[in-house]
Symmetry: C2
Subunit: 344 residues, 2 copies
């Protein structure tokens, strides 16, 4: 079996760390693994899975001889270096939003649109975390009856804002318990005009606001879902909220269909779909919760029930680890998909 | 000005405490204030607003001479004692769900359906916390154009499950920060077949499950909204979620209208409606959040924007203190409304 030279760009971040773990867990066929990060982190040594790696500076020359590069260092790094990597024959799976909406760039969730990797030009975009778990849950339902409209409200963990945001949640929680002052620097995002408390609070803003009153995160859910599912006209709206959870995003999803979809049919279709685990047992008070879904690769679906406010509707509750399936795992599945299809 | 003999039933709970505070803040015309609770708490002394009150046992005779009784001691106590109080000429404002859906019992949010107190038979029900803030926000919008359909997802604080649940959230948070074991007794509710972690987690269950897969909390939002707004056919669906916030419920509300309602028109109508404060300034990263709305009596609305997935739709974000406007304040406003209308 062929083995590949792999690079991780943004190795020191949460997604970088998860990429390393998931590559190992899935026995990705690695010849050489290269850890790239900013010049600031270069030459530091990190341990992953019992092995030590010296971080190298992410610069164009670093991609010579690299077969697959997983980018997760923000849009600016991707815009600068992904084209350089592609120029050197590297297949880039980019976790930033830099190229996602470019028509010629595939935006792929392997359970949903694996065919879209075909004809790739060296760069495949990995969707936004909140989009990935949504489309995985929607796809088997849409196959039962075409969707007419989707309304999503999210409950997104602070890990989506990085390690420092997780630390800030814990620090603020401790300070509030102790009745002490605390710092607010990470939510809604680092360097924001105004930062908000996240511990014991809800912040209805992720990413920056657009002119239409939606946040960029909300527009990502809308636009990326349409692109991945191949439904550019899909009627979908979203509200995204940052919540005081360390890991795992939750979504309350309301779906209107063109025809009848019973909760029983939905449950069966979801159970039979790859990458989904259904937890839906009201008698036992069982449903997906972030603490149970953290560190797992699947999308978890529960609270499946008929929406009586439309002719054919369902409400569902969708939870997934935003760092794993929402980023690292999906990126690696894209690379696996390319290998399987002989497209590298 | 006439003064009234007032009793609080469930004086030792969070709502009981808030009732005492709000009665004082609003200068409710009190002659005598009687604190009633279970036999277990009787004869203990509690201090409210610098005054000491001896708790008396809530039993039928305690209502002799009482003009207004605010009940907040659970459905069983209301079922047993509210009729006894009414029999003795007391006007009962009941915060439990015991009588809310009985057709002849008014279910009132004074900003929305003050007229429904007319013809009361001695007992007026106070709606569920998550319903109250919802209908206050919906009413001015429905006046602009009749609503076709509402989809609600909630983010509800643990104070709705009582003092012990607030303590449990803080205890669990501390234990998780310290890497220690912790107890789970209060969520989804005390005595549940299975209890869940609430710290750094999301629990998509409030109250018990019904046969249709909805929780009782979700059905309360649906049925109570229809009753209060006088729209028994209103198409509305809901998903309710317990979140690790101590005080203040948030709601992501999607509304489809029969005709055009611009965000500007909506904002103006909300700003002009009694009991609503609009916080909606994306440029300044300002929107309602539970930590800012706690200990206040208003309903706060923000994130007002067009829903492009329907012809005429809006998304809004609604936050309110569930113990104040969601329970104590609204109960007292009902009594004030009865006094104003000369119905006592």
């Amino acid at each position: 079996m062929k083995k590949y030279n792999v690079a991780i760009v943004g190795a020191t971040g949460m997604v970088g760390e998860a990429l390393t773990q998931v590559l190992e867990e899935r026995n990705f066929p690695i010849n050489n693994l290269k850890m790239l990060a900013s010049a600031r982190s270069a030459n530091t040594v990190m341990e992953f899975g019992g092995k030590e790696y010296r971080i190298e500076e992410a610069e164009p020359g670093a991609f010579e001889g690299v077969d697959f590069a997983f980018f997760s260092a923000g849009g600016d790094v991707s815009k600068e270096l992904a084209p350089e990597a592609v120029k050197r024959g590297t297949i880039v799976v980019d976790n930033s939003s830099a190229f996602r909406m470019e028509p010629e760039i595939p935006l792929v969730v392997p359970e949903v649109n694996p065919q879209d990797v075909e004809g790739h030009k060296g760069l495949i975009s990995n969707p936004n975390c909140s989009t990935i778990q949504l489309v995985v849950a929607l796809q088997p339902l849409h196959q039962l009856s075409p969707m007419k409209r989707v309304v999503v409200s999210t409950y997104q963990s602070v890990s989506g804002a990085g390690k420092e945001a997780v630390d800030e949640l814990l620090d603020q929680s401790q300070a509030i318990i102790d009745g002490k002052e605390f710092e607010k620097n990470m939510i809604p995002h680092k360097g924001a005009k105004r930062n908000h408390q996240i511990a014991f609070n809800m912040v209805p803003q992720l990413d920056v606001f657009q002119d239409n009153g939606y946040t960029k995160e909300e527009m990502k859910i809308i636009k990326e879902t349409q692109k991945i599912m191949g439904l550019p006209q899909l009627k979908i709206t979203s509200t995204t909220v940052r919540v005081p959870v360390t890991l795992g995003h939750s979504e309350s999803v309301n779906i209107e269909f063109q025809g009848e979809v019973t909760p029983q049919e939905a449950r069966k279709a979801l159970e039979n779909f790859p990458g989904i685990i259904v937890i839906d047992d009201p008698d036992e008070l069982l449903y997906p919760m972030p603490v149970d879904c953290a560190h797992k690769d699947e999308v978890f679906v529960g609270r499946i029930r008929r929406d009586e406010s439309v002719d054919y509707g369902l409400n569902i509750w969708v939870v997934s680890d935003n760092i794993r399936k929402g980023a690292a795992t999906n990126s690696i599945q894209i690379a696996e998909c390319i290998i399987e299809k002989g497209l590298c």
